[in-house]
């Protein structure tokens, strides 16, 4: 199983640059996910690996074989790359039976008929659909179609498996089951897999490593744990999971611990960080809702960070309570196990659980309006 190396990949359409200097390496047998909102360039990256799009700059090498190298004028067309790909729409050829769909790539590879039969049977067996080989795609459910598409992509033992949001057309419950099943299948086969999704939960659950993309840039590559716990940029923190952003100014520092004066409420909070920020500099404190806690005012004040707040709304979301609390003129989200709180409460958090970013995060205007609390 080969390694996928992508170097300085860039793609422009006229003046519009959709991909900028993207570089990453996918290890042998790894489940690698490209995560981002629509239009971030993740599908373009995948299509460049597949050969369906030609990058303007950069190179892609798979298992030592150059697929594309813009500076050297190398471009291997998709049909010669020997990849397997599952599309968002599954792209099963509607006028062919399931067996014929799987047979086509084998025919192209001139595999003998006998061998084809076993291969097709094995591949369908792998996805649990061996008895449906005579059906037409439209006679199958969405979930079945998705698995047939996977079988078709695997039947000729491709070097790399490319998955373009394969689960997005399934309904929520089925999607979760299909996700777990896909993960097991990939581990079983050990095939190098590139997965494209905009669903952060899916990415966290499936991947060995995730690359978060935004606006054509790759902003962080890391394991799901790193991506969630140590997001390299506020954009990552905002996109993967939920996050509160509080802007402020550094007013003091002792080792790793910073003292920060918040803009919204003039409270001072303490945050641990490896970032080097000079005093007086603007910063953003990012805290995930589940790392915040609200306690009644009478609660034990053993915390470093205690902020006086007021509950705006509270809702029970099953297993947890979700609070919107007012901190100065800003609304802050909290996920807590403590139910039934109202009125004046104390917001507490551990300095190690908050993230510190240089400069102020500019939230989109619409989002800022929604988070601003007047009166």
């Amino acid at each position: 199983m080969p390694e996928v190396t992508v170097k300085n990949l860039a793609k422009t359409f006229g003046d519009n640059s959709v991909l900028r200097d993207v570089t990453f390496t996918i290890k042998d047998g790894e489940f690698f996910t490209l995560l981002g909102a629509s239009g971030c360039g993740k599908s373009t990256t995948l299509n460049c690996i597949a050969g369906l799009e030609q990058p303007t700059e950069g190179s892609i090498t798979v298992g030592g074989r150059p697929f594309v190298d813009a500076s050297a004028g190398v471009f291997l067309p998709p049909e010669e790359r020997n990849l397997g790909m599952v599309f968002q729409s599954y792209a099963l050829w509607p006028h062919m039976t399931i067996a014929k769909n799987l047979a086509l790539p084998l025919n192209i590879r001139k595999v003998p008929k006998e061998k084809q039969r076993t291969l097709i049977h094995d591949a369908l067996d792998k996805v649990g659909l061996a008895d449906l080989s005579g059906r037409y795609p439209h006679q199958l459910s969405g979930g079945q179609q998705q698995r047939v598409a996977l079988a078709r992509a695997l039947v000729y033992s491709p070097t790399v498996l490319l998955l373009d949001e394969p689960l997005s057309n399934l309904d929520a419950k089925l999607r979760e089951q299909a996700r777990a099943w896909l993960k097991r299948l990939q581990e079983e086969l050990g095939i190098t897999t590139v997965y494209v999704t905009h669903d952060q939960e899916e990415a966290l659950a499936l991947s060995d490593r995730i690359a978060v993309m935004e606006g054509g840039n790759m902003i962080q590559i890391g394991t799901p744990h790193e991506i969630y716990e140590r997001p390299a940029a506020p954009e990552v923190a905002a996109f993967v999971g939920r996050c509160n952003f509080l802007t402020g100014r550094v007013i003091g520092q002792e080792g790793r611990r910073y003292r920060i004066l918040l803009d919204c409420s003039d409270d001072v909070v303490q945050v641990d960080s490896d970032e080097r920020v000079p005093a007086g500099h603007s910063v953003t404190v990012a805290i995930r809702p589940e790392r915040l806690e609200v306690v009644a005012q009478s609660g034990t004040p053993s915390h470093v960070n205690q902020l006086r707040t007021e509950v705006l709304t509270s809702s029970y979301v099953g297993s947890r309570y979700e609070y919107d609390v007012r901190l100065g003129d800003q609304a802050v989200q909290v996920l807590s196990g403590n139910g039934g709180l109202a009125g004046e409460v104390v917001l507490v958090f551990d300095p190690a659980q908050a993230l510190l970013y240089q400069d102020k995060v500019e939230l989109p205007e619409e989002q800022r309006d929604l988070l601003t609390v007047t009166s």
């Binding site: 067309p77 998709p78 049909e79 020997n82 006028h95 086509l104 192209i108 649990g128 659909l129 079983e188």
Partner: protein
């Protein structure tokens, strides 16, 4: 639950079976995909430029192209505006085309509004009736109008009897324009009706809620939104009437009114010693006019996309109630359909079964099949019937296939010159039929290796010229049908190891068959009705229905013309009905 089927295999034994990925030969870095794509580009370029370039060349040569030893000259252009009276021709054309445009819009716009936007009994029937020009060529319509409304026409004589005079004169520019407008109104109607259907009905509801009455809504909300389709279809109708030959030829010949197309016809065909230099110059000027119009039209269509109020989402508009006005509109619409199309066509059919067709004597007295006997007894006429069927039959298959390939290259490949292929396939739209005829006539004279003399005067020449003329329609009908097939199907095949050609043959061919069949029906009908490029390409051997009817008409044999016209309409109707049945059956299978 089958979703949870555990994967049974282990990876170890699985990955020993690897297959060689497909390899495609690329000598000099050019694969067979590119070879095919460049071949399509080259073929279309030759096809489209073949009639244009010789025309431009002839316009500046002082001798016919088939004669050796010509020299450069601008005499053609000078003569055109000094001796030949081309200025008057241009003025006539402008008047005719302008009036046609105005009249057809005056018919089409109110009709589109009342049919689409108001409650109208029999609205669906009207929408269906508006498709009649698909079956009937403007040549046949012209015959029908003359038989009914011409100076010696059935209706004219009846009116003469009743009122002692006929208040109209068909053989005039307004007469021509009225007939042409009747034939072209459905084009404008389709554009306006589609725009109305697409526009957001809630805009009207909003006006209604504000207290506006139906007439105010129509005037202040609906009509202003129609501006883009009106402008667009006005230009389309204008450019079609500039190039049309049928009606101006039939009406203008007796009274010597010439427009662009008939000028070319008379100077090229009816003069003893045609001045080809001047003919080339005139063709060049007309080409410039039509190409400019199409360029303007394309530009407007691009901008018009910005006007579309809502796309995709289907809104079911609440139709307005016009009250007593609705009966006025119904009367107006049926007046158009009956007087404009139904009466002339019925007259033509009746004429084909009678010897004398006049209100002075009951047509039933002379009822006969003699007109048909004359047609079927003459080898020439039967031959032209067969020729028409062969041209339409063979031509429609070739053109539809070419259109499918051109769409595949233009829209479904990464071919660098895909856009160029599309433009080339659409350019013939702006080439007047008669100029295509003249152009190919000269092209055959210039063609290397004596290819021209092989084609000249044969049915193949007619197939090429008609095919080229039908290509834009075929392309226009195939492109949206193919674009509906999801692009991921191609991508899936490419990633699975098929190159572009194999993707087409193994996967897409079956899926594009309905689009191909649709184009086949369309182009068959178009090519069966077509005749104007043939007037310059015809010989005794390759006459088709249109050219035969035209020459019979000049001989004054209206009965035989009516019989041939009736046959052509009948063939079209039967063919379309059969095709409809066949495609329906296929759909269910």
């Amino acid at each position: 639950m089958s979703t949870l089927t555990p994967p049974v295999r282990t990876s170890a034994d699985e990955h020993q079976e690897t297959f060689k990925p497909p390899r495609y030969r690329r000598p000099l870095g050019i694969g067979r995909d590119q070879v095919v794509q460049y071949a399509v580009l080259a073929f279309l370029a030759v096809l489209v430029l073949a009639p244009i370039v010789p025309t431009l060349y002839q316009s500046v040569r002082n001798r016919p192209l088939y004669e050796a030893g010509g020299a450069f000259t601008v005499r053609g252009y000078v003569d055109l505006f000094t001796d030949a009276g081309f200025g008057e021709v241009a003025l006539n054309t402008l008047l005719f085309a302008g009036l046609t445009t105005l009249l057809s819009l005056a018919i089409a716009i109110p009709m589109a509004i009342v049919v689409v936007r108001t409650k109208l009994p029999g609205g669906r029937l009207i929408a269906l009736a508006m498709q009649w020009p698909f079956f009937i060529s403007s040549l046949i319509l012209g015959f029908g109008w003359i038989i009914m409304y011409g100076p010696a026409g059935f209706v004219s004589i009846k009116v003469q009897q009743l009122f002692g005079g006929v208040p109209w004169n068909l053989y005039s520019i307004p007469g021509m324009a009225l007939t042409e407008a009747v034939a072209l109104a459905p084009i404008a109607y389709v554009f306006c009706a589609n725009a109305l259907r697409q526009s957001d009905a809630s805009l009207e509801s909003a006006a209604q809620v504000c207290g506006a009455g139906p007439l105010r809504i129509l005037g202040q909300v609906v009509v202003p939104m129609l501006r883009p389709p009106i402008v667009y279809s006005a230009i389309l109708v204008f450019s079609v009437s500039i190039e049309t030959l049928s009606v101006p030829l039939l009406y203008g010949q007796p009274v010597k009114i010439d427009v662009f197309s008939t000028f070319l016809y008379h100077n090229g065909l009816q003069s003893v010693d045609p001045d080809y230099t001047m003919l080339g110059a005139a063709s060049t000027i007309i080409l410039l006019v039509t190409l400019t119009l199409v360029a303007v039209q394309a530009k407007l269509l691009k901008d018009a996309a910005r006007f579309v109020s809502v796309r995709g989402k289907v809104t079911r508009p609440r139709k307005l109630d016009l009250g007593w006005l609705k009966w006025v509109s119904i009367a107006f619409i049926w007046l158009y359909v009956i007087v404009g199309a139904l009466v002339p066509i019925l007259g033509l059919v009746l004429r084909s079964f009678t010897l004398v067709f006049t209100p002075l004597q009951s047509p039933l007295k002379t009822i006969t099949t003699q007109n048909y006997e004359i047609v079927f007894d003459s080898d020439n006429y039967v031959q032209s019937l067969w020729n028409s069927l062969i041209v339409a039959g063979v031509g429609s298959v070739l053109v539809s296939a070419l259109a499918v390939i051109a769409v595949m290259v233009a829209r479904r490949s990464t071919f660098r010159f895909g856009r160029a292929v599309e433009y080339l396939a659409l350019i013939p739209q702006s080439l007047p039929g008669i100029i295509i005829g003249i152009g190919f006539f000269w092209a055959f004279a210039l063609a290397p290796f004596g290819m021209g003399s092989v084609l000249q005067g044969t049915i193949y020449a007619v197939i090429i010229a008609f095919g080229m003329r039908a290509l834009p329609s075929a392309f226009g009908s195939v492109a949206p049908a193919i674009m509906q097939i999801g692009g991921e199907l191609d991508n899936a095949a490419r990633v699975s190891g098929a190159d572009w050609l194999m993707t087409f043959f193994r996967v897409l061919r079956a899926l594009v068959t309905p689009a191909f069949a649709g184009a086949l029906v369309l182009t068959f009908v178009i090519m069966l009705k077509e005749y104007s490029p043939a007037v310059f390409l015809s010989s005794a051997d390759n006459n088709i229905l249109g050219t035969t009817m035209l020459s019979l008409w000049t001989q004054g044999r209206a009965g035989s013309v009516a019989a041939l016209a009736t046959l052509q309409i009948a063939i079209t109707a039967v063919f379309v009905a059969l095709a409809g049945l066949l495609m329906k059956g296929k759909h269910h299978a």
